[in-house]
Symmetry: D4
Subunit: 208 residues, 8 copies
Amino acid sequence: MTTPYKRLDKDQAAVLLVDHQTGLLSLVRDIDPDKFKNNVLALADLAKYFKLPTILTTSFEEGPNGPLVPELKEIFPDAPYIARPGQINAWDNDEFVKAIEASGKKQLIIAGVVTEVCVAFPALSALEAGFDVFVVTDASGTFNEITRHAAWDRMSAAGAQLMTWFGVACELHRDWRNDVEGLGALFSAHIPDYRNLIHSHSKFTSGK
Amino acid sequence: MTTPYKRLDKDQAAVLLVDHQTGLLSLVRDIDPDKFKNNVLALADLAKYFKLPTILTTSFEEGPNGPLVPELKEIFPDAPYIARPGQINAWDNDEFVKAIEASGKKQLIIAGVVTEVCVAFPALSALEAGFDVFVVTDASGTFNEITRHAAWDRMSAAGAQLMTWFGVACELHRDWRNDVEGLGALFSAHIPDYRNLIHSHSKFTSGK
Amino acid sequence: MTTPYKRLDKDQAAVLLVDHQTGLLSLVRDIDPDKFKNNVLALADLAKYFKLPTILTTSFEEGPNGPLVPELKEIFPDAPYIARPGQINAWDNDEFVKAIEASGKKQLIIAGVVTEVCVAFPALSALEAGFDVFVVTDASGTFNEITRHAAWDRMSAAGAQLMTWFGVACELHRDWRNDVEGLGALFSAHIPDYRNLIHSHSKFTSGK
Amino acid sequence: MTTPYKRLDKDQAAVLLVDHQTGLLSLVRDIDPDKFKNNVLALADLAKYFKLPTILTTSFEEGPNGPLVPELKEIFPDAPYIARPGQINAWDNDEFVKAIEASGKKQLIIAGVVTEVCVAFPALSALEAGFDVFVVTDASGTFNEITRHAAWDRMSAAGAQLMTWFGVACELHRDWRNDVEGLGALFSAHIPDYRNLIHSHSKFTSGK
Amino acid sequence: MTTPYKRLDKDQAAVLLVDHQTGLLSLVRDIDPDKFKNNVLALADLAKYFKLPTILTTSFEEGPNGPLVPELKEIFPDAPYIARPGQINAWDNDEFVKAIEASGKKQLIIAGVVTEVCVAFPALSALEAGFDVFVVTDASGTFNEITRHAAWDRMSAAGAQLMTWFGVACELHRDWRNDVEGLGALFSAHIPDYRNLIHSHSKFTSGK
Amino acid sequence: MTTPYKRLDKDQAAVLLVDHQTGLLSLVRDIDPDKFKNNVLALADLAKYFKLPTILTTSFEEGPNGPLVPELKEIFPDAPYIARPGQINAWDNDEFVKAIEASGKKQLIIAGVVTEVCVAFPALSALEAGFDVFVVTDASGTFNEITRHAAWDRMSAAGAQLMTWFGVACELHRDWRNDVEGLGALFSAHIPDYRNLIHSHSKFTSGK
Amino acid sequence: MTTPYKRLDKDQAAVLLVDHQTGLLSLVRDIDPDKFKNNVLALADLAKYFKLPTILTTSFEEGPNGPLVPELKEIFPDAPYIARPGQINAWDNDEFVKAIEASGKKQLIIAGVVTEVCVAFPALSALEAGFDVFVVTDASGTFNEITRHAAWDRMSAAGAQLMTWFGVACELHRDWRNDVEGLGALFSAHIPDYRNLIHSHSKFTSGK
Amino acid sequence: MTTPYKRLDKDQAAVLLVDHQTGLLSLVRDIDPDKFKNNVLALADLAKYFKLPTILTTSFEEGPNGPLVPELKEIFPDAPYIARPGQINAWDNDEFVKAIEASGKKQLIIAGVVTEVCVAFPALSALEAGFDVFVVTDASGTFNEITRHAAWDRMSAAGAQLMTWFGVACELHRDWRNDVEGLGALFSAHIPDYRNLIHSHSKFTSGK
């Protein structure tokens, strides 16, 4: 009768970053660009912080979609990088699926551009293939609120967990005592309000 | 335990355009008119591009609802066109259902005006009749966000896939290599940002 | 595998109007007052038009909640009218449930103020009692969008059909030919855009 | 076929207030501060009014998250108060779970900051442990509407009841006659519109 | 140094209703149709209540703009009615200006569709001609908020008084004691919240 | 060439609170009720804190407008209180103007319900009479954003200073050193975020 | 005392289209892309329709700003086209100012991207140089509403007329009788609601 | 008759950054924190880039307002830094005014927290003292849109130029040829869309 809680585990999870390309990003209009850039980099930083296997993929880099945003390449210089020759659903690319299988992980954390295509298609395929899927909604962008909510509904109905980068970080970390400094630095870098809290706290407790 | 992915297949799909009439369109206020017109024509253009059987239907053309918008008639001059004499749910019209059955398709892509009636009613009937239903949410319009979200909830709870025209096009196309020019032209015609990306790309790579 | 379509039938349906009182209405802030008044009266008018058994109930009329809005009393002078002495969930009032049972209907169309209490509580009780429940979302009001969406989620998860007055009217009517004049008059009275369509049409086709 | 109604019962319910801390509150931006403060205190006041066992917990009070807001400590001077040393999901803290078990209640009313972490994590754990979970959405705050809606979707899909403080109060009270004065005072203190109704009513009926 | 207060005076004011036509009204999307209809009729009712000379004008009734909304014709059966043969700015029509001059009034209360054209053009012409101009902003509609705010800025910079129907009514009436019943009836008919206040008050003070 | 700065001076200022009545408050829908109540009481508290002469006035208390909200009467038990017998513009009431003149102040801080009438009318009259007028926009409420912005435009064009309660408090106080405790208490009582800052600061600096 | 009406005159006006480039357009986020594209092309079409001298200018076409959108080049193949080598304010480019002077017009209709720079800078320079300036606000785009409203305030305060493409077209045309077909075609091409009105009207009056 | 254009000149301008403190920033809720942080740092970076004299000031750093955000101190290690002992209006602090006078500049670019106090008060004082004032609206934050718009109205009416950081940068730079690399780097660092344009351009033109 009770619901098993599909809970992220840093030993079980891999991250898939799908089509965050300089051209495609101009299509994203459901989240403000400053915030969206921050969310994507926060997800990348947490993937690196938790040492999660991370797989990068792009669609048609030579065409108008443009290259992968350079920050992601810099954060993950050695990650599997699949420049798909044409498949729109990354799951249709064997190399991509093999990279996931090679990671040995069963929990897939997915974000990408645009939500209803580059995220939803592989998410639905992964669910069908038996993976647990965690969509990072705020690191995934699309044209507007209608396209976002339709995509969410389709993924949720199929069993995906809708999450955000902050929730993913907290669920992976489990306990502040595992590393106060590290998690604090991640939050300070990507949440201005948290950064301010840290600075005020530091100032007041140091008495300086 | 896993979810079968209800995935659009261009060999299995038909398109139903329900009641996009010049009078009824004045009722649509949940999407801006410029955007809504573009979304409807984008759906029509993709139906033609993928050569999907397309069925047009209208409600009471002689009355205040007005005639079918002329662009749709022009795009589909030979499509089945059912001017319903009174049935509000198009599925209650035998001619409409027979046209669908004659197409031999089991995946129905539906859009119309207004969402909670002209789309939801035949969508629910089609689900009951065993079809897979894909609602093109952004080519379907209604009075306001309350009527939209209530309609979405009812259709989603009954098993409809909530999609948008861009997602439909991408899921049908599967792979850019099937036809780069064709899909690019579709996007260029209906996504100003994508059109700009193509023009910048062309200018920069041609060196002119 | 297919979903049975829970479809309104004018021979199976009754209408429950819960706590539309002059004091409680000042709490409704998720819908503009002009629009909300129109939606409630549209629902009342359609209930009368389709001759649906309609049951009125109020909570604590003598206190600050205030009397039933007079328009509803005028439209339904002979309807069962249960001024509940204290029960917040109308379903806890035996007289209310008996009035429903006396109608012999199994489809309950509910609207009220406020959505998460006066609508959701009897809706959940009615579902538990085996009725089909159709919530008229736009004739139900509450404090804000958070309270509305939480209420919708709870009712939808329990199996209620989320609808709006226009959808209810169309699903009940089935076919314009049953009475063009009557349905047209209902829409003309409660949808300004439709009223304008009718006037333009009349002017242009009469040639006057 | 029918749905059992998960209905709050004042003899079965306990309240969990998670991480309403002076620092963390600066992260809450999906609800206006004036309204959010009111909602949290309304929930606290109703917990006290209905004499529900209430459990307070905080995360890292010595750090930037800051101390529990003083109003809550004042309202519940003798409540179990678990200052968690590091666990992000309060359910991972044995003392917290034992306090819940000690209450002997099976219906858990949860609110906290931020929704997708401090509320969603223990809510999902509690559902897995077989409790009924009632989330007080408007006394729970988070970064923005995206994080809120993703959190709601995850909790609702797992079986949580999404509620608001007003709905909780009404479902617990059942009947105004149990205590008109008490419930009226609660509403007067936390709903300005209701307060105004009471004052007008009092003035007009007293004739003074 | 001080500013003379341009104050409406019921003996000095005339009302100009410009192009509230059934076709043109479908262009109005900056105000919800239910509210807009109410605002226009409220303005008409107050013009009649205060016995202000009222002048009706339309643009191209035979074409798609459609006829004057019938309610206005009914309220003002004997008012000057200028069906302009083509002039977009009503002030360019001599008959219209002569009707204004014939009224002998120097304060012009203007509303119409659409704001930036049918209202702004005659407002600017009237200001140039030395009249005091009072724009009824909420009985004037246009495409969207950009067109509205641009129109407001242009009119305000030229010296027009931006008002609303409620403000106009109150400024004309001056003192409730001039006619409590009449003004109360006007507000009751067009402000649902005020109507509710009146009903509650009446119920409570009558003791019935 | 330079602009003289119309700056509030606590020795020159009086406060006018116009028609904050329990019935009229139900008309206010441009500001959320929780926030609006807070803003009005913040203005009252600052008026008391700075010992500014404060004048209360109401319109038609015996009718549906209802009595003055009791909090204001409690805060200013000895203030001039003019229950106007009918004048809509408070400035048309001699007693009201005399009370202002008796204060000997030339800077008038005005707030009330509704903005375009009860605030704008006396504001325009006061400007005409040579006073400096400071409108407390966030302690003044009205039907919607259109009525608010139209009212602001009219008052601003006539020379009124548009302010908010926080700006008024800061401009009157001039220097924190005049009374750190007092101003801090005012902000703590009416700005939840500021209250949180104070509590965090106190906790961290006290080391407890 | 009266205000001279700065009224557009088709014999006095020229159009300046500033920096509508494929790269810069990705910065525009205060207007939806579908609508913005339509507005810019509507302005271009009306400039052509009224045979207004039109001047095109771009900033740094070889760099990331990208080329002029091709539609504008196609509509104005023979217009002066100044690809500025670096000046941000087009008015700092002598060739641009000379092209304006060569037109002999004193009324300048300006639109561009982004509003606060490419529009506001030459608008302010033109006002200083003694021209009348008419800003086409809805064919000018920028980052967000804050940047838009700040730009509007600066231009309006300096004496610019804030307009929209529809207002410009109507003010230039003056009288429908000058060319019913032409103006109707312009509106039909760029206002979907108007197009629908025309089609309904044509259908109903033709009796077909 | 013409308006002199108050145009920023990098040899005439100084920058005033008022009260961007870690505590006060939690009060800013009219701009999203990610965006606001970016805007403030963009303004700081441009001040440094153009070598404008920059003056930092804070209010009550030892109290809850908290310390200056550390990024600003790092960017301007040698700037005049006035920690005001209590004056709310920075202009009331002699040291602050002397620092401005010492810069010898007559154009003051001001930003701060909160807009209606820390920005508006010194802006009004500076205007009175004969300076030209340029408010950087998007690097100034406040409680909500009401407080923002009231503050803007007051400053604009007194003659301040409402600008944004991007407009300030462009007006100061005048011509891309002065330094393409430098301005491009500033935009790339603070405008994600522009950064993407640069990366796409670089990729496509390099052919790599």
